[in-house]
């Protein structure tokens, strides 16, 4: 007799290992495809999986097979018009009409498959790591905090919750004694009635007295506190974000920053944000825009509004420093900053920016990235920042000339530092 087995719950994902092997083997091709996919689409799309396509020939599994040529007999079904001895032209593309014998000769052009979002991100960030991930980040084990979670009926004596237990006991005592008490009261009333009628010594009264005694004993026997009543405070482990980061986006919105440049800056910020989400559980983003004065704004305003006038970059740095001191103590926050500018700045202001960075901001931050967009030749800010870069490992600067440059620049900025 047949045996019927329900296997649905066992052994899912048996191919997971093989799939991993596949990804591992073709990681170079996949990484390349992932990079192409990134530059080819909107940055906001990054939060989903990706279709990866690899040329089939790269992953062929060769076997010995016949090449074309020689003489072959092919038997085909569905003859309509041929009779023996007919001579027919070869179909286009060699022996296409009859691949009868070996189906392995020709394959599809591309092997296409889906990467999940997580896998895609893995490839995207593979060679990158946040620079100097030194603080709490390295230990990936999340910190836990005990949190209250109601009451349970079993637990450690030290967690005994007295008030709760007593409340529970009251309820139980009331419930358990309710029946006998009613009977007791009734019996007493009857007895009182009998006594009032002068029948206090009758056999009926004695019977009642006995009953009362028994009932009193029953009421008294209800325990004051029973094991059922005990309640314990329940505490559960709750993961706390072991690492939190704040990301400052600084952008020049003076007249010289046009929509295209802002667009490039925006993509850079978004990429940075996405990257941080890989490493941190909680990320605050602070947007600071500036022209001659700096202002903390909402994201919308940050990217969309436009100002005219000159540029004083130090105003943004001042504001950033104030915000850090006020809201983000560097002992508990990982601080990242990205500044985007077209390089325009008042000449007098640039040395001030340098000093602010070196003395005020860089000691507090994990990393400060400066990107200059579309500047034709370096201006004063760039030159001053070059000196900052020479002085600090936490500072990086790059130029972005077109949209397509963003990704390579991004990689360059956050290239894994050899410890």
């Amino acid at each position: 007799m047949s045996q019927l087995v329900d296997r649905r719950l066992s052994g899912k994902n048996r191919s997971a290992v093989n799939r991993q092997r596949f990804l591992r083997r073709f990681k170079t091709q996949i990484r390349k495809a992932a990079a192409e996919a990134v530059s080819g689409r909107k940055v906001a799309d990054l939060e989903r999986g990706e279709k990866i396509s690899i040329p089939s020939k790269d992953l062929s599994e060769p076997i010995f097979h016949h090449g074309s040529g020689g003489r072959r007999n092919i038997v085909l079904p569905g003859n309509r018009e041929f009779v023996s001895g007919d001579r027919v032209d070869r179909p286009e593309g060699g022996g296409g009409g009859g691949s009868g014998g070996s189906p392995d000769g020709e394959g599809m052009d591309d092997f296409v498959f889906e990467l999940s979002k997580e896998e895609f991100m893995e490839y995207f960030f593979q060679d990158l790591a946040l620079p100097d991930l030194v603080k709490k980040q390295l230990a990936a084990v999340p910190e836990v905090k005990k949190a209250r979670a109601g009451f349970v009926s079993q637990g450690n004596p030290s967690n005994l919750h007295v008030v709760r237990s007593m409340k529970q006991a009251i309820g139980r005592r009331l419930a358990m004694a309710a029946g006998p008490r009613d009977a007791l009261r009734e019996a007493r009333e009857q007895l009182a009635e009998l006594e009032a009628n002068g029948l206090g010594a009758s056999a009926e009264a004695d019977e009642l007295r006995e009953e009362i005694e028994a009932l009193e004993a029953r009421v008294a026997a209800v325990p004051f506190l029973d094991t059922w009543d005990l309640r314990y405070a329940n505490r559960v482990d709750q993961p706390t974000p072991s690492s939190q980061a704040v990301m400052f986006c600084l952008m020049d919105v003076s007249g010289s920053m046009d929509a295209d440049r802002k667009n490039i800056a925006k993509r850079f910020f978004m990429l940075l944000y996405l990257f941080l989400t890989q490493s941190y559980e909680r990320i605050d983003v602070v947007f600071i825009r500036h022209h001659t004065v700096a202002k903390e704004v909402e994201e919308d305003e940050f990217f969309n509004s436009r100002e005219s006038g000159g540029t004083v970059a130090s105003s943004a740095l001042e504001l950033m420093k104030d915000i850090i001191l006020e809201r983000y103590p560097s002992a508990s926050w990982n601080i990242y900053a990205a500044q985007a500018s077209d390089g325009d700045n008042w000449d007098d202001d640039s040395p001030r920016c340098r000093d602010l960075l070196l003395q005020g901001i860089l000691p507090l931050t994990q990393y400060f990235a400066y990107v200059e967009i579309e500047a034709e030749e370096p201006q004063s800010l760039w030159r001053e920042y070059e000196r900052v870069q020479a002085a600090s490992r936490r500072f990086a600067m790059q130029r972005i000339l077109t949209l397509a440059d963003i990704y390579p620049v991004f990689r360059e900025l956050f290239k894994k530092k050899v410890a």
């Binding site: 045996q3 899912k12 076997i63 090449g67 569905g78 007919d86």
Partner: protein, 511 residues
């Protein structure tokens, strides 16, 4: 083509229908009841099967099973991952339905049912896999000779554990490289004529260590005197090695490759054993699928005639069945070779027709079949043939006409293709013979054998490709030689011999 015989038709009990169930939702209880009914009818027709183990799985698990080429337990390799991704993609996009069925040639015979399927589909798969394929596995001579249904599961477990252990000891990359090369040669890792020994895990494990030591000593012995002084006289006297050409490349490598480590030899052996296990399946595709399809059709129709199945059930069943046995014509966009289900089903159905209702033509072509007991004749055909001989023996003129088969000759010395034979009196025999040849694995794959090893020289291995109809080797040859060279450890050459005996150097790969 209504050919149900009167004797087989159950007495028409006043046309009363008592279906096993209505509705199309399955439950374990219903599957069990259908299975009992199908088993009863299968026994009535004398199908001899291994015990069945029917497993309900989800579609994800079906994709898994698909990707490991139907092995219930497989070692890890990227190519299975590739297969998995391809299947998954196809399934998700709805480009293809999932396996009609997967059934494993083991004892007990494991058949998978997918939970998404409707009840009629489950019944169809049970009839097809658990009774059709199962009886084929148990009865066909190739399976009886080459595979050991008792031992295969144990052996696969042994193989997976051994390879996993090797990965730990020698690194995943080393094992992967080796497996790549072995897989490339898998089709050349079968004995076509020698009987294999039985496989079982206990024996394998016990003997593996012993074999390791022994093999290594043998190999070393072969090469011990090397490199010897090369005197011309000695070379002349030296016997050629191997004394005769060897067709089983992997076997030759396992036993003789000078530089393989013992664990590498064992892996070559594992791949070879698995290739051997699947070899009968590759040789009996048409028969196997045809047999299973014929029986699911016959068994379910029998149940319907008994009134056990509803009309709705039959409609759904027939719709799937019809899709499966459709043969698109050669110029259709859906054409991708001859559909083994279609050809096999048609041949077994036709065999039954010849037995029961032979025409004058059939009596001429199949005098011994016409009028015989069809159950016995089909059983005989199932047991004693493989695709090539089955077609050569049983393809009838009527089927050649039904399929409108014709032969096209593609000769590179001729600028046109020539129609050599069609479905007419003059062509039947040619069509039948050439179609049979098309299923000869020896014709499909180039004939490559180990020809010589330069034992006293640079240890180079020479393969010889014997050309058939002047067909050359494909463009993958240099890559393939690299794989052979990786296993052999020294230079590998391949030469082609044409019909006139002229030897032509084809390619070489140095290590």
């Amino acid at each position: 083509m209504e050919t149900r015989p009167e004797i087989e038709r159950p007495a028409p009990v006043s046309q009363r229908r008592e279906p096993i169930s209505e509705g199309s939702e399955w439950s374990f209880e219903l599957i069990d009841r259908y299975d009992r009914e199908i088993a009863r009818v299968a026994a009535h027709y004398g199908l001899d099967t291994y015990p069945n183990q029917i497993e309900i799985i989800s579609s994800e698990q079906m994709i898994d099973a698909y990707s490991s080429v139907g092995m219930p337990v497989g070692y890890h390799h990227w190519s299975y991952g590739k297969q998995f991704l391809a299947t998954q993609k196809g399934y998700k996009r709805g480009q293809m339905g999932l396996a009609y069925e997967i059934v494993i040639n083991s004892n007990p015979c494991i058949a998978y049912l997918m939970e998404e399927n409707t009840l009629p589909m489950q019944a169809l798969v049970i009839a097809h896999a658990a009774y059709g394929h199962n009886s084929f596995f148990k009865g066909n001579y190739l399976f009886r000779t080459w595979t050991d249904a008792e031992g295969i599961l144990d052996y696969l477990v042994f193989a997976r554990n051994f390879i996993a252990e090797c990965e730990q000891r020698h690194g995943e990359d080393a094992v992967e490289e080796l497996l790549d090369s072995c897989h490339a040669l898998m089709n050349f890792g079968v004995d076509r004529y020698k009987r294999p020994t039985r496989l079982s895990m206990a024996k394998e494990q016990a003997r593996q260590a012993e074999r390791e030591a022994y093999l290594q000593s043998q190999v070393n012995d072969l090469w011990r005197t090397l490199p010897a002084k090369q005197s011309a006289g000695r070379q002349q006297r030296a016997p050629r090695f191997p004394a005769e050409p060897q067709e089983n490349l992997l076997y030759f490598i396992e036993k003789n490759a000078p530089r393989l480590e013992p664990w590498q030899r064992e892996i070559v052996r594992i791949v070879r054993k698995i290739a051997q296990y699947f070899y009968p399946q590759r040789q009996t595709q048409v028969m196997n699928e045809g047999w299973a399809t014929f029986w699911h059709y016959t068994l379910l129709n029998h149940l319907y005639d008994e009134g056990k199945l509803t009309d709705g059930f039959m409609l759904e069943f027939l719709q799937s069945h019809t899709n499966v046995v459709y043969q698109p014509p050669y110029d259709s966009r859906r054409y991708s070779g001859i559909n083994p289900y279609a050809l096999g089903f048609a041949m077994f159905t036709d065999l039954r027709r010849i037995c029961e209702h032979p025409t004058e033509e059939d009596r001429r072509w199949f005098p011994e079949l016409a009028g015989s007991d069809w159950v016995k004749s089909l059983d005989f055909a199932m047991r004693n043939f493989k695709d090539e001989s089955f077609i050569a023996q049983y393809l009838s003129p009527k089927l050649i006409r039904d399929f409108k088969l014709f032969v096209l000759v593609d000769d590179d010395r001729d600028e046109k293709l020539e129609v050599a034979a069609i479905h007419d009196d003059a062509g039947y025999r040619a069509v039948r013979q050439l179609l049979a040849e098309q299923y000869n694995l020896g014709n499909r794959e180039p004939n490559i054998q180990v020809y010589a090893v330069d034992v006293y020289g640079d240890r180079a291995l020479t393969l010889r490709h014997t050309m058939h109809d002047r067909r050359p080797l494909g463009e993958s040859t240099p890559e393939m030689l690299r794989h052979v060279a990786r296993l052999w450890g020294y230079t590998v050459r391949i030469e082609s011999v044409d019909a006139d005996g002229d030897i032509r150097f084809a390619a070489r790969s140095d290590t």
